[in-house]
Amino acid sequence: MQIIGIALSKGRILEEAAPLLARVGLMPREDPERSRKLVIATERRDVRLIVVRASDAPTYVQYGAAALGIAGHDVLAEHGGAGLYQPLDLGIARCRMVVAVQKGFDYKGAVRQGARLRVATKYVQTTRAHFAAKGVHVDLIRLYGSMELAPLVGLADAIVDLVSSGQTLKANGLSAVEEIMPVSARLIVNQAALKTKRAQLQPLIDAFARAVA
């Protein structure tokens, strides 16, 4: 029997996945939020959790370093999903990916066909595709965090980021002007692993499906 790894990130995904993991019979043997370990044993001897950065989860699964993973739809869209199956929406870590601008900024006027817009985001691919579909030129500025700052200090006209309650936007005088996609976390599976270790993976996937339903 081979060891199955599940790649997931600490924070919101792990928090909301914990009840699912419990129902599937994969409770971690120690609290991942407190432990500094990056590989964490579970109730089942053949399954372990691999703690990664949220945006790295698809990469670990794509290259087979973990057979399974949990990743937000935002991260998957950015990654492109090559080498992955994404059979199940886990319905956790729900939020929206939106375009946000400073209050008073004329977004409608700024995204006329052929216009040019400076956008700060960490979702470079998704943002490029979104504006390309509208026929709007964008100059992308890749940031790694605190996106809300960019319009305030004149770095960008708009940002593309995730919002759940909208509190951070509001506190910084920004508002969402367009939704790009609703986001929730998916169960992802390495394509080759599903073909070669189906006997082990299929029951786990089925168990997740039952836990979500």
């Binding site: 080498g83 994404q86 929406d89 073909k195």
Partner: protein, 327 residues
């Protein structure tokens, strides 16, 4: 100078080179013994002929350069299969069945995966001019026998058929755009996206498309598909073909009815073989009946190809020693 090689390009040193060469000879001998004639297409061609009838993926994987003699754009082959199809359709022009095989280096502008070389050695065999399941069977058996020659461990094959999805789409008279979106979602077994995309389709079509991502596993999948998918003639024929392959396959086989790799040029059976020690598929094959059409002659075609370097690395072939001479 540090003599660094480009990324994903490396030298093959004596031990590995000897193993690859031994395997190359053994496989080409096997092909010859089974009646496959060797062809050697050129390393580069004008882009039009190199990429005709192939997908966008191949275009992205192809190195391009300008021919200083003609000023035309040329590409270094990233896949030999279309070249061999061109030879069959355009140069040989034989009536009846033609069996061809080939072995040569190809170049990938982008590596296929993070660990992949950009210069695989592609070896493969193709049958032209027979649309019957007997040819699919012969190719599948030949691929299995090559895996056996290389002494890989844990060899198994995953088989699909593009007519399953195609017949459902045709029966529902869907346009090119919804078909492309459904294709994308099925490739990823992205059930949530499929649920969105199939909303508004007829119930029978919708249920069938939503069932496809679940239809993978052992031969029992075929029985389940026959029971639960609509009774379309093309679909029935596809399932019958798969049943024949299931019964005759020499290594453990699984089936995946949502497997649509190469959907744009494949037309029937598609298969991927796996073995221990290789993360992705080690051999890929299938039927691609219409590729020759672009070269003036539509011929039924089926075949498979393998990266010899990957196969040699995975196989337990005994090292093929050459006595070193000391002078």
């Amino acid at each position: 100078m540090r003599w660094l090689l480009p990324e994903h390009i490396d030298d093959i040193l004596p031990g590995e080179a000897a193993k690859i060469e031994a395997l190359r000879r053994a496989i080409l001998d096997r092909f010859a013994a089974r009646g496959y004639e060797l062809v050697m297409p050129p390393l580069l061609e004008y882009l039009e002929s190199l990429l005709t009838g192939t997908g966008h993926d191949l275009d992205l994987r192809t190195f391009k350069l300008v021919d200083q003699l003609s000023g035309r754009m040329m590409g270094v082959r990233a896949d030999i299969t279309p070249q061999v199809a061109r030879i069959d359709a355009h140069l040989l022009n034989r009536p009846g069945v033609t069996r061809l095989c080939y072995c040569g280096s190809v170049l990938h502008a982008r590596p296929a995966s993070v660990a992949a070389t950009r210069e695989p050695i592609q070896i493969g065999a193709e049958i032209y001019g027979d649309a019957g399941v007997a040819s699919d069977l012969e190719i599948l058996r030949l691929a299995c026998s090559v895996l056996k020659l290389a002494r890989v461990r844990g060899a198994r094959v995953d088989i699909g058929h593009v007519a399953v999805f195609r017949s459902l789409v045709r029966a529902a008279r869907l346009g090119a755009e919804p078909e492309a979106e459904l294709f994308e979602a099925l490739q990823k077994k992205d059930v949530p996206a499929l649920e969105g995309l199939t909303r508004g389709l007829k119930k029978q079509t919708r249920d069938a498309l939503l069932l496809l991502p679940e239809l993978y596993g052992g031969a029992e999948v075929l029985a389940r598909a026959a029971r639960r998918l609509p009774k379309l003639p093309a679909l029935g024929r596809a399932l019958a073909t798969l049943r024949r392959l299931a019964a005759a396959c020499a290594i453990p086989a699984s089936f995946d009815l949502a497997e649509l790799r190469g959907y744009h040029y494949h037309s029937g059976v598609v298969f991927d073989a796996y073995c221990d020690g290789v993360a992705g598929p080690v051999a890929r094959g299938g039927r691609y009946d219409d590729v020759g059409k672009a070269f003036g002659r539509s011929r039924p075609a089926t075949g498979f190809s393998i990266d010899l370097r990957e196969l040699a690395a995975a196989g337990a072939l005994p090292p093929w020693r050459v006595k070193r001479k000391n002078r």
